[in-house]
């Protein structure tokens, strides 16, 4: 709602400090709980890309490896766009 009004007024949406705090906490808790550092996450991503592209064509640039939390369970989520023919044509 706020976002809508601010866009209407042509202003950029600034998240409140409370929202910023929540986002920062969400990330840091994911790292704390799993003891996976951002650097390790990058390494994982690179190696996943290497392994998968050995077998199928993927859009390496758009691969995303992130955490997802549900209750106190953490999981690693890899979003790996495949290069299909239609995808290729678009580029």
């Amino acid at each position: 709602m706020m976002k809508f009004f601010e866009r209407l007024l042509g202003r950029r949406y600034e998240p409140s400090s409370g929202e910023v705090a929540k986002e920062r906490l969400r990330l840091v808790l994911a790292h704390d709980r799993t003891s996976i550092s951002p650097a390790l996450l990058d390494t994982l991503k690179d190696e996943i890309i290497t392994v998968i592209s050995r077998h199928v064509a993927i859009d390496a640039e758009s691969v995303q490896v992130t955490f997802s939390q549900s209750a106190r369970e953490s999981r690693l989520v890899a979003d790996i766009p495949l290069l299909t023919r239609r995808g290729r044509r678009k580029r």
Binding site: S17, G18, A21, R24, V28, L29, D32, Q69, R72
Partner: protein, 265 residues
């Protein structure tokens, strides 16, 4: 009936553990429960001051453990509430004087004649925390709606799960409703979502907490005239299994006030 042993802990210091233990102890005793509050912060004794019993201490927790007195002799009875007792921490010793087994034994000896044993855990995740949670059947985590407190609470919740002591339940202390409304503070829903544990109470910031601590008479004694005082009594009732709805943290907002002014009921 044997007493329920509940440890109050937080990871981070200064979030209000001792205040919560003092006030919950008073609230439970006012509600007819037989309560012992144990100060497990050996070397940094403070619970005695919060409940105004500092001048009546003869023996302490370490005296009991090392056999210099019987358990009964170390318990300080609160003269205002006949069923509230304090087991004070030693002030001139350190945490190495207490082992997890010692706490288990002390609590076992208290369990028969009381309904609730509340343990005020030291801050941190070291030895003091370890012995404080050893006898616990239940754990209450105290946090503030601030980044460092929530992060430390999460760490402690993880340790408690690893020890299979849980599930821990949460008390959010010192929430400032007006700051939350402006979006400049984590709100209750955010904290619960991030920590993913059950909420057992929310205590709003209240300057009466300070003034009542100054006098050694916890706010819970005079519960009627403050939101925080009522919050302690509500938590005490929830601990006894009552389904107490969470109270609104603020009066009517601006819109609501205008509406009432324009269209009085």
């Amino acid at each position: 009936m044997t007493a329920r042993v509940i440890t109050v802990t937080s990871g981070k210091g200064g979030v209000g553990k001792t205040t919560i233990v003092a006030n919950l102890g008073v609230a439970l005793a006012m509600q007819g429960q037989r309560v012992v509050i144990i100060d497990a912060d050996v070397g940094l004794r403070n619970l005695d001051l919060m409940v105004g019993l500092e001048n009546r201490i003869v023996y302490d927790l370490v005296d009991v453990i090392e056999g210099r007195c019987r358990l009964r002799q170390a318990l300080v009875r609160d003269k205002r509430l006949s069923e509230l007792f304090l087991l004070p921490a030693a002030q001139t010793r350190d945490k190495s004087a207490v082992q997890p087994d010692d706490m288990v034994r002390v609590c076992e000896n208290l369990q028969e004649q009381h309904d609730f044993i509340l343990i005020d855990s030291p801050a941190g995740i070291e030895q003091g925390f370890r012995y404080a949670i050893a006898p616990a059947g239940e754990i209450l985590i105290v946090t503030n709606p601030e980044i460092p407190a929530v992060r430390d609470a999460d760490r402690v919740i993880g340790l408690i799960e690893a020890e299979e002591k849980g599930p821990a339940r949460l008390i959010i202390n010192r929430i400032k409703p007006d700051v939350v409304r402006r979006g400049e503070m984590l709100d209750i829903a955010d904290v619960i979502e991030l920590l993913a544990v059950d909420l057992v109470g929310v205590v709003p910031e209240d300057k009466a907490i300070l003034t009542t601590a100054n006098r050694g008479r916890p706010l819970a004694f005079s519960s009627d005239n403050s939101l925080a005082g009522r919050a302690f009594h509500n938590i005490a009732r929830r601990l006894q299994g009552e389904d107490v709805p969470f109270q609104p943290l603020h009066g009517p907002g601006m819109l609501e006030r205008i509406r009432r002014f324009v269209r009085p009921e």
